[in-house]
């Protein structure tokens, strides 16, 4: 029994095997189609099903954070002495806020809520490192230190098919400067300060993937890294990208992950991205 239990939410996009291996508690966010039918992210709806409805049926999806009550029931069901609850960037979602409210509702509980200032496998890698530390029997303080160090080293770059979905959901951050172009442009974006930031505009999918690989290679600059490759239902694009970086990046075992429904609802289809952090 670990001293510290790690909790996260469904936007961490962690593959099921890792969730089970490291005993991570995942609180689902919600996807709502046409304002009526509510699905728990990753529980009631798979990434594949979600993208099919979004793209092929052109249904509109909105999302919602877990309620404080849902957090309370997860927290109270856990038996560890301390809990570290790590979540989607507070600039993109109210998930951390629900978690904080829940903490206040359980007097005497030792719960630390952490804003990852990231999303998807950016959040996922932080959670994974924290869970590994917990499994090694580290204290809450030591794990929090690992988390804050990793947050500072973490970088995430990705491309999307268009900015249409990000703009619609209001999660576009400063990338709105890339909006409104009539050319068929693939925006290259990155996460920083908890928000989506514009990096570059590239034309054509193949060129965008190649540019993504170049930029990541530049940023990695030969350092040994931990990394993850994420795609929002674009297996073909991801395969191409993996081929491009295979020989170029010193990443031992990249975690391959599928972008979940909640983040996918905001990015739209065609997401290929890479999250990485230099090893210490």
């Amino acid at each position: 029994m670990n001293q510290v239990q790690i909790v996260t939410d469904s936007t961490a996009d962690l593959p099921e095997k890792l969730v089970n291996d490291y005993n991570i508690a995942v609180v689902p966010l919600k996807v709502i189609f046409d304002g009526k039918v509510v699905y728990r992210d990753g529980v009631d709806i798979s990434t594949e099903q979600f993208y099919q409805r979004l793209v092929e049926k052109r249904e509109t999806a909105t999302t919602s954070q877990p309620t404080p009550g849902e957090f309370v029931s997860v927290y109270t069901s856990l038996s560890a002495k301390s809990i570290i609850s790590i979540h989607l960037s507070s600039l993109m979602s109210g998930t951390s806020q629900s978690a904080r409210i829940a903490r206040e509702m359980i007097p005497g509980a030792d719960i630390e809520v952490v804003d990852s200032e990231s999303a998807s496998m950016g959040l996922g890698l932080i959670v994974l490192e924290a869970a590994r530390a917990a499994a090694r029997g580290m204290t809450k303080g030591e794990i929090l230190k690992i988390i804050s160090d990793l947050k500072a080293r973490l970088q995430a770059y990705f491309i999307v098919d268009s900015l249409e979905y990000l703009a619609r959901g209001g999660r576009i951050g400063r990338a709105k400067a890339f909006l409104g172009t009539v050319l068929n442009i693939k925006p290259l974006l990155y996460l920083s300060e908890g928000q989506i930031q514009p990096y570059e505009r590239v034309r054509g999918k193949t060129k965008a993937l190649e540019r993504l690989a170049q930029v990541v290679e530049e940023k990695v600059a030969g350092q040994k890294i931990m990394c993850s490759i994420v795609h929002g239902m674009d297996p073909e694009g991801m395969e191409k990208f993996c081929q491009m970086i295979k020989t170029r990046l010193p990443c031992a075992e990249p975690v391959i992950s599928k972008l979940g429904a909640v983040v996918g609802a905001h990015t739209g289809p065609g997401v290929v991205g890479m999250v990485f952090a230099p090893e210490t």
């Binding site: 400063r174 400067a177 172009t181 050319l183 442009i185 570059e200 505009r201 054509g204 193949t206």
Partner: protein
């Protein structure tokens, strides 16, 4: 007849002569194009440059040759269009700089001024090429320096002759000219200007009829905007009109009008005169002229009003310009292409391209319209780069010219624009982007042509240009496109964009793109409505 010095009026007269002759010769010069593309414009560009020069010179109302020359140089600087126009403006610049303190100029003064003009022109061009207008101007100056005669008339004849000789030798210096069987267009323009000077000097009556009718044309569009300083005006009303009568005493009329204001100009002949004056009593001016004849085309403008409007506009610009770190001025043609440029972040897109080069003045106005204090310029045509650089130097704003030589290069540069990066970083990125794209163009030939590699182009056939060189020709568009693409597409994973012009239907271009995609496997194809004239397709490969 011998002439030992030129004064301001002599120079004005010569400029008029040059404008008249170049006006007649400009179409012929336009046709002197190395490639048989239907868009030669050197003659028109040079004509508009020298016309702008004359316009400004006419405003001086001085007999001081230095003052007239400076005004002429200023006018050319603002009105310069195209490469040859800019080079011409530099010649005038050097010429005027040497003469500025002279009331009259002797043969040796003119010779020195011409040499300085040559220096300025060579300095303005990054890589001077012999066999162009530069050579023709240089040979004329060398001839002037070698002459011993102090008779200016004889000197002008000799200069003119040596310029013509130099022009005829241009095909020996530039193989491209020889191949096309033409002389250099800019050089020809300069020869015509010298001939115009000579014609004016020889003509007994400096104000021949055609000159007067031309003056009417010129004067209607004088733009005080660029030179108007924001100071208190001594005279409020700009008053101008035509006076028709019999035996109009021009110099008497002039003397009579002097007390009424400044910027007085009375030009014309005894039947028709153009009067222009800034005065506080336009009524009295009109009354005075009514004694001599009838008034036509009256125009009285309140300049205070104009100035106030201009100041308000400047203030608005001031406010908006502080909020943005920098802005972008681009040049393009075709509604589709212009819209794409705007969508990529160009603040102002000026009309211009092969068939119409914007003048330095147009570019300067464009820079002013960009709501930022620092401006990046994208000329998007090799013949506009010099004018853009000139406009950049003249502008009060901080500017950087990205030497984009084609529309695809300009679009690539715009694509590199990233928000929240500073002026220099952005400019560096944009400049780097120029090398990431290759440019193809398809148009129809205006005459038969044989290239040095034996490639023959028939008049009316399609021809494909890869980065400005003809590489494919034929009756069928698809064949020409395929051949052209073999020159442009290297490696894999390229994006080929076909920007189609006015002459094409979207459907046929989509079909073309499909068939090319099956030939060039592993490349992405995209089709965009460019809406450009003349060019059926503009192609970018990136």
């Amino acid at each position: 007849m011998a002439v030992y010095s030129f004064n301001g009026s002599d120079l004005l007269m010569m400029l008029r002569g040059a404008v008249n002759l170049l006006g007649q010769a400009k179409n012929e010069i336009d046709a002197l194009n190395v490639f048989p593309v239907p868009d030669g414009d050197t003659g028109t560009n040079m004509y508009q440059t020298i016309e702008a020069s004359l316009k400004e010179a006419l405003e001086t109302d001085s007999n001081h040759i230095g003052h007239v020359a400076l005004a002429a140089a200023r006018g050319a600087l603002m009105g310069a269009r195209g490469n040859s126009g800019v080079i011409l403006s530099q010649v005038l610049q050097g010429f005027a700089g040497t003469l500025q303190a002279k009331e009259k100029a002797t043969a040796s003064d003119i010779s020195l001024a011409l040499q300085e003009g040559v220096q300025m022109a060579y300095r303005a061009v990054m890589k001077p090429v012999e066999g162009t207008i530069l050579t023709v101007v240089r040979k004329s100056a060398e001839e002037a320096a070698a002459l011993r005669s102090r008779n200016l008339l004889r000197m002008m004849v000799a200069i003119s002759r040596s310029a013509l000789n130099a022009l005829q030798e241009t095909p020996d210096l530039l193989p491209a000219l020889k191949q096309a069987g033409v002389v250099d267009a800019g050089g020809k323009g300069f020869v015509v200007i010298l001939e115009g000077f000579l014609q004016a000097l020889k003509s007994a009556s400096p104000l021949a009829k055609e000159t007067v009718s031309r003056l009417d044309l010129l004067d209607a569009k004088v733009q005080p905007e660029l030179t108007m300083a924001v100071t208190a005006l001594d005279f409020t009303y700009c008053t101008e009109f035509l006076l028709k009568g019999e035996g109009l005493p021009l110099s008497e009329l002039k003397r009579e009008l002097i007390p009424y204001g400044d910027c007085l100009m009375v030009v014309g002949n005894e039947l028709l005169a153009k009067v222009h004056i800034h005065s506080n009593h336009p009524g009295l001016v009109l009354e005075c002229c009514l004694k001599y004849g009838k008034l036509y085309d009256l125009k009285i403008t309140n300049m205070e009003e104009q100035q106030r409007e201009q100041q308000e506009r400047l203030q608005v610009e001031e406010q908006t310009s502080t909020s943005r770190p920098f802005g972008i001025l681009s040049v393009g043609y075709g509604e589709g292409l212009k819209a794409i440029m705007k969508s990529l972040g160009a603040d102002v897109v000026l009309d211009g391209g092969q068939t119409l080069n914007p003048s330095t003045g147009d570019l300067l106005k464009g820079i002013d319209e960009v709501p930022a204090k620092r401006v990046i310029l994208l000329p998007n045509n090799k013949n506009i780069i010099l004018a853009a650089e000139q406009a950049g130097r003249l502008s009060g704003k901080e500017t950087l010219v990205i030497p984009s030589r084609s529309i695809p290069q300009g679009l690539s540069a715009l694509l590199a624009l990233a928000p929240e990066e500073d002026f220099e970083t952005t400019a560096r990125k944009m400049e780097r982007a120029l090398t990431s794209v290759r440019t193809g163009e398809i148009t129809t030939a205006v005459r038969d042509y044989t290239g040095n590699d034996g490639l023959t182009v028939k008049k009316g056939h399609f021809m494909g240009l890869a980065d400005g060189e003809i590489v494919a020709a034929g009756m069928e568009l698809a064949g020409v496109l395929e051949k052209l693409l073999t020159y442009l597409v290297e490696g894999e994973g390229r994006l080929v964009t076909l920007y189609y012009g006015q002459a094409m239907e979207r459907k046929e271009v989509l079909e073309l793109a499909d068939s090319m995609a099956s030939v060039f496997k592993g490349q992405d194809f995209d089709v965009q409505d460019g809406g450009q004239p003349v060019y059926h397709l503009i192609i970018s490969v990136e």
